[in-house]
């Protein structure tokens, strides 16, 4: 019976299709279920980082990719996200500005650098160097700036420094244009 044989031959294919269909349903379902919570968490994470950077923060506005930080009525500063091209991938950095010339501080949001070497860009000896710096001085010391690169992680260090400086300059220009 050729019809029966054809069915028998097609069975593995049909089964695979069913398995894939179940997998897709399961994935869509989980995605729907978790998407809102995940987004809320990502926002909470940024908010926690902001309030750590600006301890007096009571609220913030988010417009044109710039966070403006307020304490009651007073403006405390600005913050924005800078993206650097690191050794292992993108480095996302939250940069806080005290005013239009001074860095308040930076926090690394995510990075994919070499564990034990490039990952030291997230640690305080490196990131504390940015606190209170004039934007003009955000450069590696070999280029005449104020930041000491991490030994044997020059690419990661330079990526952070360049991203912070260029993005800060862009944002400051944008802020000045708005006024």
């Amino acid at each position: 019976m050729p019809a029966k044989n054809a069915l028998k031959n097609a069975f593995p294919m049909i089964l695979l299709t069913i398995v894939v269909a179940i997998a897709v349903t399961l994935l869509t379902f989980t995605d729907r279920l978790t998407r809102d919570t995940i987004e809320a968490q990502e926002e909470q994470k940024i908010q926690d980082m902001l309030s750590e950077m600006f301890p007096d923060m009571s609220r913030y506005d988010f417009e044109d990719e710039i966070y403006t930080i307020y304490s009651d009525g007073d403006k405390l500063g600005y913050a924005f996200i800078a993206i650097g091209k690191g050794y292992g991938g993108d480095i996302n950095i939250l940069v806080g500005l005290e005013d239009e010339t001074t860095i308040k501080g930076i926090t690394i949001i995510s990075q994919e650098e070499t564990p034990g070497l490039g990952t030291r860009i997230t640690e305080s000896p490196f990131i504390d160097q940015f606190m209170g710096l004039n934007i003009e001085d955000v450069a590696l010391s070999r280029d005449g700036g104020q930041i000491d690169a991490i030994t044997s992680s020059t690419i990661s260090s330079a990526a952070v420094v360049d991203a912070v400086r260029t993005t800060a300059m862009e944002k400051v220009k944008l802020l000045k244009d708005c006024e």
């Binding site: 593995p12 695979l16 994935l27 989980t30 978790t34 070499t114 034990g116 070497l117």
Partner: protein
């Protein structure tokens, strides 16, 4: 001690996934740079391997021979993604520390290797024992490699933020190469050679 104990114990030495089966070497090379990473990866493997071994042992009688590999791959990839999303949403702290390891588990051939070599031929309970044994064996190997690489490559021994301090000499001048990929190849190769030579672990 029964079949369960036997299937568990064989994963530790006799079929140690890294040193004997030489499975999952890619993630081992990539993440064996610190003890923190070793433990994080172990936890990710444990969760996914138990899940995939149970599912595959449960459906083993219905899966036709020719399409079993694509079916296993779809099941494992789905499982990893679902676990990843649920962790991201429900256990954000754990996700923070496991975040980079869970997606890596997809390409970890230990999972597919055990599905194909064990879970597709054995009942559920034994497959759980196999998953536990293989994970512990994986952890032992990974800890050994990470410990050596972390000590030589950074001269520092810190585990989960608890710092045991820098070592003399090495702390000042760490041999950075051991943190980088060449160091991983060297250490794994030397350990493999040592275990074969001394007869502690023999190839299957």
């Amino acid at each position: 001690m029964g079949k369960f104990g036997k299937e568990f114990l064989k994963g530790l030495i006799l079929s140690n996934p890294v040193f004997v089966l030489a499975l999952g070497l890619c993630p081992v090379l990539a993440i064996s740079t610190s003890i923190d990473n070793a433990l994080g990866m172990t936890l990710a493997v444990l969760i996914v391997l138990i899940g995939s071994n149970i599912i595959i042992a449960a459906i083993r009688k219905y899966v036709p021979g020719i399409t079993r590999i694509p079916i296993f791959i779809v099941i494992i990839a789905t499982l990893v993604t679902v676990v990843n999303l649920i962790f991201h949403a429900r256990f954000p702290d754990l996700y923070e520390s496991l975040g980079i390891f869970l997606p890596l588990v997809v390409v970890n051939c230990i999972i597919l290797g055990r599905a194909e070599a064990f879970a597709s031929k054995n009942p559920i309970l034994n497959s759980i024992a196999d998953a536990l044994g293989i994970t512990v064996g994986f952890m032992l190997a990974l800890l050994m490699i990470s410990f050596i690489r972390q000590i030589l490559g950074t001269g520092n021994l810190s585990v989960f933020g608890y710092d045991f301090g820098n070592l003399p000499v090495l702390g000042e001048n760490p041999i950075v190469m051991f943190i980088l990929p060449p160091g991983a190849f060297l250490i794994i190769g030397l350990l493999l050679a040592l275990f074969r030579r001394t007869g502690v672990m023999k190839g299957e």
